[in-house]
């Protein structure tokens, strides 16, 4: 094999490898990417139970409740118009508080409750996860104020 041919073979090999990578990625992404939903999205077009999705919104004021086992919390995530009940077993993240944003990975169960596997609360007081940019950050607080009145 001449040097020139070898170079051609190497270039072809690299191309095949990269195209292979692209196809593999496309195939894996079909099943493994999880879509983002707000509570309104879930109400409008309910994803199948058991499919991994990501839920984002504000934790409703006064909605965090701890179960009898002491390690499970239930709370409501809302986006100003719709509410979604969420259950999470584990220690909640440091900045997980009522009236602030949360992004949760998990799935809906048969009863329509969202079972969260991980909670991604912000780490930085000033950081807003990109998915939550469009959501009114004060919606939750106003709502409870009117309830009190």
């Amino acid at each position: 094999m001449k040097a020139k041919h070898q170079r051609l073979v190497l270039v072809l090999l690299a191309l095949v490898a990269l195209i292979g990578a692209g196809l593999l990625a496309a195939y894996a992404l079909q099943d493994q990417a999880s879509y983002f939903y707000t509570p309104s999205d879930i109400a409008a077009k309910k994803p199948e139970a058991g499919v991994a999705i990501r839920l984002g919104g504000m934790v409703e004021e006064g909605s965090i409740q701890r179960s009898a086992d002491g390690v499970t919390v239930q709370f409501i995530v809302q986006d100003g118009t719709t509410q979604q009940l969420v259950s999470y077993t584990g220690i909640t993240p440091d900045l997980f508080v009522e009236g602030s944003g949360v992004v949760a990975d998990g799935r809906l169960d048969a009863d329509g409750m969202f079972i969260a596997e991980t909670l991604l609360a912000k780490h930085d007081e000033n950081y807003i996860p990109r998915e939550l940019e469009g959501i009114d950050m004060t919606a939750g607080q106003r709502k409870t104020e009117t309830l009190v009145q």
Partner: protein
């Protein structure tokens, strides 16, 4: 006055960088030797001025000078000294100044220490380094001035994010930046060599120590970052395939490929164009990583101080530099001569396989990380890509790569006999098979990937020492020992990863003081909850004792800290390390019945992940020292011969 001096030093450094670029460009074009002679001192001077500027910013943070906006926004006077110091780069402006400082210092180091590169290529390299620095100087001076004053002067600052108040902040970001920016040197070398059409073994030998240096820092930075996230987030995980993590992994993958291809170029004069391409790609990945992290365009658990507008400035720089380098590559690749050829079964063949596999893994991580952005741009739908994708797509390929790594060093350059390879690799294969058999027989519940990973790791651990077989240990070059230790480190890390994912045991309970919690052979006795206070925080601390079997009684104290300045809480996990694993305890919230959430993990052999990372970096260090010493000896010898003549 100090802030103004810092700003002036920064402007001076920027002006010197411009001068450095002009001297190089004009000097090469007009063949002006006086210009070319001046470029080294100018490069050193700009390195000194930018370092001075950075030191002055550190000084302002140490003194808690609240009249400087950046200090007031990100520091507080009651903070421990270490965090005042490290807080300098715990924000956008400071971290960009650190970036530019490392870049300027890299230029100065090239000017001071690079002796083996051909002179014209060196000048072109320094000009290229100045050209990329210029963009970042502009970014800093126009839109992110770290020395901006604040009026009226506040009584105290707003404090540093509590999650960043950890010794990790002093070590992890600078190390990672040394790695990211160190790759700019490889980029500049490649651009310089393309300009002067001087691509060959001598060029590769000159570039190799710089690539090794950047790669060592990247390896250490990623290892430290992984451990920091592991204990600070309190989730018990050491890698989340988060965009910010991927941002540091991608340059590492490219640099690892470059490290191996540059060896082919240096030893056998092969893979010329490919090596140039990789050098460009590696630094591109650094810039893409910085863009992803700084812009906050992807949701991350590690996102701090993000700013989308500033992100677009980095994106513009990225387009200019990568586009320019790619265009130059396209123009010059035809004139790069073809290297020597080789057979498929040879050291070169194995290194090509290494490079292809690393490139494919890099592509898979890249696609997975940016896929959410692409989908959102096209369809408007938001989605996220997490561990299921990355593990599925990259896991099998990574194992294949490790298998190639076991065989490659046992092959001869240029051409080898498949039969002799089988002879040499037979013992590692037997070890791997025995390990696989033992694991299948004596453990249960391991995933196929972990099973294969653990078995392969056993084989690789043996195979990595095989290059020493029948060799005189004292005459084996230092860099060969470097390779052996680095490859052994990969095996060590792999054992840790497979063990962590297969054998971790977890308990989550609401416990009262007096309760006992058991996990695996550990017995934890929850004794009391007590308040404690630190320099700028107060905390609730759980007093516990832990005992492994009938072993020694250890005291552990997981905490929940409350930071006054930021009104936020962090949990401090308690870690207990034994030779065979780590106990990880997190304290959650308490309730009205005096029950406290406690989460306990027993993670067998998990520290091996980070020990492996340190071994890999140590191997790189040995390789770099060995290569530098040999290059120095050759140069001395040549000078001596020339003097004799």
């Amino acid at each position: 006055m100090i802030a103004e001096t810092g700003l002036i030093a920064l402007w001076l450094a920027a002006a010197l960088t411009l001068l450095q670029f002009v001297l190089g460009a004009v000097g090469l074009r007009a063949e002006r030797d006086d210009y070319i002679a001046a470029i080294r001192p100018v490069a050193v001077a700009q390195g000194i001025f930018v370092s001075l500027s950075f030191l002055l910013l550190i000084w302002l943070f140490l003194r808690s000078d609240m009249s400087v906006k950046l200090v007031a926004m990100n520091s507080a006077s009651v903070k421990p000294l270490l965090y005042k110091f490290a807080g300098t780069w715990g924000n956008h402006e400071g971290s960009m100044l650190l970036w530019v400082t490392v870049m300027g210092m890299a230029g100065a180091f090239i000017a001071l220490f690079e002796r083996s590169l051909q002179k014209r290529t060196l000048v072109a390299t320094l000009a290229a380094q100045a050209f990329i620095s210029l963009g970042f100087y502009a970014f800093l001076l126009v839109s992110s001035n770290p020395f901006e004053r604040l009026f009226p002067v506040p009584a105290d600052g707003q404090g540093l994010n509590p999650l960043l108040q950890d010794p990790g902040l002093a070590f992890h970001p600078p190390t990672l930046y040394f790695g990211y920016v160190g790759l700019s040197v490889a980029f500049s070398f490649a651009v310089g060599a393309m300009i002067t059409r001087d691509v060959g073994p001598a060029f590769a030998k000159a570039m190799r120590p710089w690539v090794l240096g950047a790669w060592i820092f990247l390896t250490l930075g990623i290892t430290a970052g992984s451990y920091w996230a592991y204990y600070e987030l309190g989730w018990g995980g050491w890698w989340f395939w988060d965009p910010v993590e991927n941002a540091s992994l991608m340059p590492w993958l490219a640099a690892t490929a470059l490290l191996h291809s540059v060896t082919v170029l240096a030893t056998r004069d092969g893979l010329r164009a490919w090596t140039l391409m990789l050098a460009v790609v590696a630094f591109s990945m650094s810039m893409i990583g910085t863009f992803l992290v700084r812009s906050g365009i992807l949701t991350s658990v590690h996102a701090f101080a993000v700013d989308p507008e500033r992100g677009s400035f980095i994106l513009a720089l990225l387009a200019i530099y990568i586009g320019g380098a790619m265009a130059l590559f396209a123009l010059r690749v035809g004139t790069v001569k073809e290297g020597s050829r080789f057979e498929l079964i040879s050291r070169e063949g194995a290194l090509v396989a290494n490079n292809l596999l690393l490139s494919v893994i890099l592509a898979l991580v890249f696609i997975g990380t940016l896929y959410p952005l692409m989908v959102e741009a096209v369809t408007g739908e938001k989605l996220s890509v997490g561990p299921p994708y990355f593990n599925l797509a990259t896991g099998p390929l990574a194992l294949l790569l490790v298998a190639v790594m076991a065989a490659g060093p046992l092959l001869r350059w240029r051409r080898d006999n498949p039969k002799t390879l089988l002879n040499r690799i037979s013992i590692p294969v037997l070890v791997a098979a025995a390990a696989l058999f033992a694991l299948v027989a004596f453990t249960s519940g391991m995933s196929i990937l972990s099973l294969l990973g653990m078995a392969l790791a056993a084989g690789v651990a043996v195979a990595s020492f095989a290059p020493l077989w029948k060799r005189n240990l004292r005459r084996t070059p230092v860099h060969t020992y470097g390779m052996i230790i680095a490859h052994f480190g990969v095996a060590v890390a792999l054992v840790g990863m497979a063990a962590e994912s297969s054998f971790t045991e977890e308990r989550l309970v609401a416990a009262k003081p007096g309760d006992e919690i058991t996990v695996n052979k550990w017995k934890l006795q929850f004794q009391a909850i007590e308040p404690v206070a630190g320099p700028n925080w107060t905390a609730l601390e759980a007093r516990m004792t832990a005992q492994y079997g009938d072993g020694v009684l250890h005291e552990i104290e997981p905490q929940n800290r409350m930071f006054a300045a930021a009104q936020t809480q962090t949990s401090e996990a308690a870690l207990l390390t034994r030779w065979n694993g780590q106990l990880y305890v997190v304290l959650g919230e308490g309730d009205s019945e005096d029950r406290w959430q406690v989460r306990v993990w027993w993670k067998p052999f998990v520290p091996l992940i980070w020990y492996g990372g340190i071994l890999i970096a140590l191997g790189g260090l040995l390789a770099m020292v060995g290569r530098l010493r040999r290059g120095y000896q050759h140069r001395k010898q040549r000078e001596f011969t020339e003097a004799m003549l």
